[in-house]
């Protein structure tokens, strides 16, 4: 697709916007090997609109389409991941889509169209059950799990169709954590919005805070200092490493190797304690703020030393994981997503890279500070749990290298800039540990009019349903963990 004549929005990320040609643009994006990131709705005095964010080789394209006659053309035939997003647009705005699946998604019947202009409509849940697709036949039975799961996990419902131990089909029912985040954004000031953005998905707090800050800065037309930019990079890579450490430990544990959990959780705890002493918060919440950073640090040398220690420990543990027959027996060929299926369904982020879907904003669309770091992308062709484990190990080593480079290149300077009260549209696009996070934002005189956060879990939850098919029930927790998807970031 030719970006000529389209408007590039301000800000560091390469993002363009265009209007109209809803279906044509979706088709040409697919034909060029692009991907759909997010769909959302909005309403102004002029009427209702739907928006789509695509990624092409040159950057992101955000298409706005006016809804005529109460509905808009279905994209799920072009990009399968559009289906649940279209269902959610209906739940939130009452804007109908022309797709086949008309079931509600985020809405469980307690409320109706909260983002519609003129206010929320009350509703009473229907007494009918959500119509899960069922498998019938001799010996087939159903296992219902959740929303409260057996462990320290977020809530969601899984409906398994099983023969013996073999999984024939999984269907997810999410939305249990829906807490009105998009509505809560409306009318917030910029600093209030920053606090909320940091709490969309706690494990990706830096990624969301940065995406939000980037969107505000794009709308206001300001650029942060190099020091603040590099500090953001350091925080994002530290978040990635900390999450990968937790996942690698938990994956070992889910396969009965509790040694792995103990070892990795010690490294993670050491890291969080350094976050606390350096940045003042273990998870680095509210660290990245519009205009720059709320915290700085002086002792770069200490952190370089720490990265060296982590690297040598993780190297030892990787050898142990790789050589452990029992562990590899559980990891290999489990929860396999073939590269072709991954590409067709739009599997994204870390899980996508483990199925040869090579995409990483830090590499493909690098902006400061990643444009000066020459990031190397970790990929794998396996598509199974073992591949996702391997990509995590590779990404830890790469992130540690990036952290060291960024500390070495950290210039002196201010870390905060004043924000003017501004109006306009902005978007932030960040490669979090799970995949790409997008935050689209409309501001009016320093107050948020509409904000839409997007988590990569939207793309990957539906693929999990395919990944588990043909596996046995006890492998589900392991497969689920290897994707480690967010419920909160998805349910909003």
């Amino acid at each position: 697709m030719d970006f000529e004549g389209m408007e590039r929005i301000r800000g560091i990320a390469p993002i363009w916007k265009a209007e109209g040609d809803w279906l044509e643009r979706a088709e040409s994006c697919r034909d060029e090997g692009g991907r759909l990131v997010s769909l959302w709705g909005s309403e102004t005095e002029e009427g209702a609109f739907v928006h789509a964010a695509y990624v092409l080789s040159k950057g992101m394209l955000i298409v706005k389409h006016r809804v005529e006659g109460g509905s808009y053309p279905d994209l799920s035939g072009i990009f399968p991941c559009a289906s649940r997003m279209q269902r959610s647009i209906f739940d939130m705005h009452g804007i109908d889509h022309q797709g086949r699946d008309k079931r509600p998604w985020l809405c469980h019947g307690f409320w109706k169209f909260p983002l519609r202009k003129g206010g929320l409509q009350g509703a009473t849940p229907s007494s009918e059950d959500y119509p899960f697709v069922r498998v019938e036949g001799e010996g087939v039975h159903e296992i219902a799990v959740g929303p409260v799961h057996a462990g320290i996990i977020e809530p969601g419902h899984f409906r398994f169709q099983v023969v013996g131990e073999k999984l024939l089909r999984l269907e997810e029912r999410l939305g249990y954590k829906h807490k009105g985040i998009e509505k809560a954004f409306e009318g917030m000031t910029i600093p209030e919005g920053a606090r909320l953005a940091a709490r969309i998905s706690g494990d990706s707090t830096v990624a969301y805070s940065w995406a939000y800050a980037m969107a505000v800065e794009a709308a206001c037309g300001i650029t942060v200092s190099s020091r603040a930019g590099l500090l953001r990079g350091i925080a994002l890579e530290r978040e990635r490493v900390a999450n990968h450490l937790a996942d690698l430990g938990a994956l070992g544990n889910d396969a009965g190797f509790s040694f792995g959990l103990a070892q990795f959780s010690v490294i993670r705890e050491d890291m969080l304690r350094i976050n606390k002493s350096v940045f003042g918060h273990r998870l680095m919440m509210d660290l990245v703020v519009p205009g720059g950073m709320s915290g700085d640090f002086e002792e770069g040398g200490k952190m370089i030393e720490e990265t060296n220690i982590i690297e040598s420990k993780v190297r030892d543990l990787r050898e142990i994981y790789m050589d452990h027959t029992g562990l590899q027996d559980r990891f290999l060929t489990t929860g396999k997503v073939e590269p072709a299926l991954a590409a067709a369904l739009g599997l994204t982020g870390l899980a996508g890279r483990a199925s040869r879907n090579a995409a990483d904003i830090r590499v493909d669309h690098a902006y400061f500070p990643y444009d000066m770091l020459d990031v190397s992308m970790a990929t794998h062709y396996g598509g199974d749990v073992a591949a996702r484990v391997s990509v995590r190990f590779d990404e830890i080593f790469e992130s540690l290298r990036l952290i060291r480079m960024m500390i070495e290149r950290l210039p002196e300077g201010e870390i905060m800039q004043n924000l003017p009260a501004c109006s306009g549209f902005g978007a932030g696009w960040v490669e979090g540990f799970r995949g790409e996070v997008l935050l689209a934002l409309e501001i009016e005189n320093g107050v948020i009019r509409r904000a839409h956060p997007h988590d990569p879990s939207w793309q990957n939850w539906p693929v999990l349903e395919f990944a588990v098919t043909g596996n046995i029930v006890p492998d589900f927790p392991l497969i689920n963990k290897s994707f480690n998807l967010s419920y909160s970031g998805h349910d909003l």
Binding site: H108, F110, W111, P114, L120, P147, V148, A150, G151, I152, I153, E154, P155, G175, Y176, K177, H178, K179, G180, I181, K183, A184, G187, E192, R195, L196, R199, I200, S201, G202, D203, T205, A246, F259, A262, Q263, S265, V266, R268, E269, L272, K276, R282, L283, M285, D316, L317, E319, I320, D323, S486, Y487, S488, D491
Partner: protein, 163 residues
């Protein structure tokens, strides 16, 4: 096997002593429970930040299981419900059902600022949130923080036992 043992020895014992509690609360304490407390965790709508810190309680530094406190899979096995919030409208019924499934006596600990009062999500009226945990089930102890650090969660759990 040799390498696994080598790593374990290299790390040594990381476990730290449990934090001291307010002595005025000391009525029975863990001794009363004969060093055994079963906790059922429910996430009623959090951002998952609190879950990360609850997970940390099981790492070798805090070693919750070492002091006889363990997380269990069913509310029927639990003495305590550890709940993170805010309570979303969609989790209200599940939270109540989990609470009702517990046998008495039972304790409820609300974790984090959102568990206390709904936090940032409920700063204004919100159609999708019920508010803090206490707006749905009775709460014994509330632990402030966003998210509270593992030590604060541990202190909150211990003070609930002693209260």
């Amino acid at each position: 096997m040799y390498r696994i043992i080598r790593e374990i020895l290299k790390y040594g014992i990381k476990t730290e002593p449990a934090p001291a509690c307010d002595p005025s609360l000391k009525v029975g304490g863990m001794e009363m429970l004969e060093k055994s407390l079963a906790i059922r965790h429910v996430d009623a709508g959090s951002c998952n930040g609190c879950e990360l810190e609850i997970h940390a309680l099981n790492n070798p530094y805090y070693l919750l299981e070492g002091s006889g406190i363990q997380f269990v899979a069913s509310p029927r096995h639990a003495d305590m419900l550890l709940v993170t919030g805010p309570v979303s409208r969609h989790m209200e019924a599940a939270l109540k059902a989990t609470y009702d499934a517990m046998s008495e006596p039972r304790l409820v600990v609300a974790v984090g600022d959102c568990g206390r009062n709904g936090g940032i999500y409920c700063s204004r009226r919100n159609y999708a949130c019920c508010g803090g945990i206490s707006s749905v089930i009775p709460v014994d102890v509330e632990i402030p923080g966003c998210p509270p650090e593992p030590e604060a969660i541990l202190k909150g759990i211990l003070s609930a036992i002693r209260s």
